[in-house]
């Protein structure tokens, strides 16, 4: 299980992150390249992946494409 969190502060390979509860928690960020303000996926105390805003948009774009491609396909 991994949960997305926002990086609020970075110091010595550790970051203070917010899981959306407004409470800051410490996670290790040595496995990723990340900046303050970005989102990370956190698993058992370690950020395992940086999540960028563009990639979030990318998912929504993929979904739209899938829905649209098939509807034109379906009517032919």
């Amino acid at each position: 299980m991994a949960i997305p969190a926002k990086v609020v502060k970075i110091q010595d390979g550790k970051a203070q992150v917010d899981f959306g509860e407004g409470v800051l928690r410490e996670v290790d960020i040595s496995l990723v390249e990340v900046k303050v303000g970005e989102y990370v996926l956190v698993h058992a105390g370690y950020a395992i992946q940086a999540l960028s805003q563009e990639e979030a948009e990318e998912t929504l774009r993929l979904w739209r494409e899938l829905l649209e491609a098939e509807s034109s396909h379906g009517t032919k």
Partner: protein, 360 residues
């Protein structure tokens, strides 16, 4: 918050379910297998199976790391604890049955067994008590293994060793394809494991097995789209590797984490609970880190154990061969309060997920 809402848009959900219904075959059943406790949770918690047409079946493979850890390795942790070593582990490892006893059983008898939230906590605990010997029971798939590797490479205090039980997901998927009468038509590959190992790790499934494979995220919509993507492939008669979880998974995966993992570990064959021995399916600390290997350091090696308590069908539940409700003990002798098998113990176990949602 708004981010979450965009990934949970009910009108999109309605449309993708319509697409699934249009694309699903009329007669033949399509069996889609995922291998992730979190996917099972999403599917069960949001009742996704009830949205699918009767010809689309989604089954759960061995996606629960605690469940697949064989009894022999729990026995090794128990043996360490009985030797007077403080054993640290994640919370849901405590109650996992060994051949005779769990870590919780020996803790109740006075052994020093402590729950930690991360490998980092295990290191800090050992640092705080330098005169006490510690062993961290490191369980988990490729999602968790990099954190263990990282702590080993950082040269933790000498009074800490690691009982490494990390296992790899792709070999378990290959095992499922070898189960004669399971007949899987497509894989939903686990998103979190894939953030580390990347899409490339699944290339073999479409190529060698002609198996549609889609890496998916964990929102209900992610799972529904992945199902739809697989159905489309089946309908087209193709087998491709596709990425639904583009916001977290790349082709290469997390290279930094992979480098750290391969610096610390070698890949070995290993026993999976109730499933037998799988080739190249687990990590072992490399020779140069032997001083941190709890098995070497404390001379403990148990290779045989009793994986299944009498009556437990975990081995069949874990490969999606039966549903938890088909186990005669489910919610009778075996409940989340008094679990019999590993699949009822772990929060990622299929039996526990089904039990919890039936109790809601």
């Amino acid at each position: 918050m708004s981010e979450n809402l965009r990934f949970r848009d009910p009108t999109v959900a309605k449309r993708v379910v319509e697409k699934i219904r249009e694309t699903a075959p009329r007669k033949d059943t399509i069996k889609i297998c995922h291998v992730c406790g979190t996917h099972e949770w999403t599917i069960t918690h949001y009742g996704l199976r009830s949205l699918l047409p009767p010809t689309v079946e989604v089954i759960a493979g061995p996606g629960c790391p605690v469940c697949v850890t064989p009894a022999s390795e729990v026995d090794e942790a128990v043996a360490l604890a009985l030797k007077g070593i403080a054993v640290t582990c994640f919370g849901d490892v405590l109650r996992v049955p060994g051949s005779e006893r769990s870590l919780l059983d020996v803790k109740a008898e006075g052994a020093d067994v402590r729950v930690v939230y991360s490998a980092m906590d295990a290191v800090r605990m050992a640092e705080r008590e330098p005169n006490k010997e510690f062993a961290f029971f490191a369980i988990g798939f490729e999602t968790t293994a990099p954190s263990t590797a990282l702590e080993v490479l950082r040269k933790p205090p000498k009074n800490l060793s690691f009982l490494v039980s990390h296992r790899l997901i792709p070999p378990a998927m290959e095992l499922l394809l070898g189960v004669g009468d399971l007949h899987i038509d497509g894989f939903i590959a686990p998103g979190h494991v894939s953030t580390i190992i990347g899409l490339k790790a699944y290339e073999v499934f479409p190529k060698a097995y002609h198996m549609p494979t889609v890496v998916a995220g964990f929102e209900p919509l992610d799972v529904l789209f992945a199902i739809y993507m697989i159905l489309k492939q089946v309908k087209e008669g193709t087998a491709r590797l596709e990425n639904e979880y583009v916001r977290a998974v790349s082709w290469e995966g997390n290279i930094k984490a992979q480098e750290i993992m391969y610096k610390a570990f070698d890949i070995i064959d290993s026993q999976w609970r109730g499933l037998g021995r799988l080739p190249s399916s687990a990590f072992k600390l490399k020779e140069e880190f032997a001083i941190y290997d709890a098995r070497e350091k404390h001379g403990i090696r148990i290779t045989k154990g009793r994986d299944l308590p009498p009556g437990c069908q975990c081995h069949l539940v874990m490969i999606g061969k039966i549903k938890p409700t088909e186990c005669p003990l489910f919610m009778k002798a075996c409940t989340p309060q008094k679990p019999v098998g590993a699949c009822m113990v772990s929060i990622e176990g299929t039996c526990r997920i089904w039990a919890k949602s039936s109790m809601m």
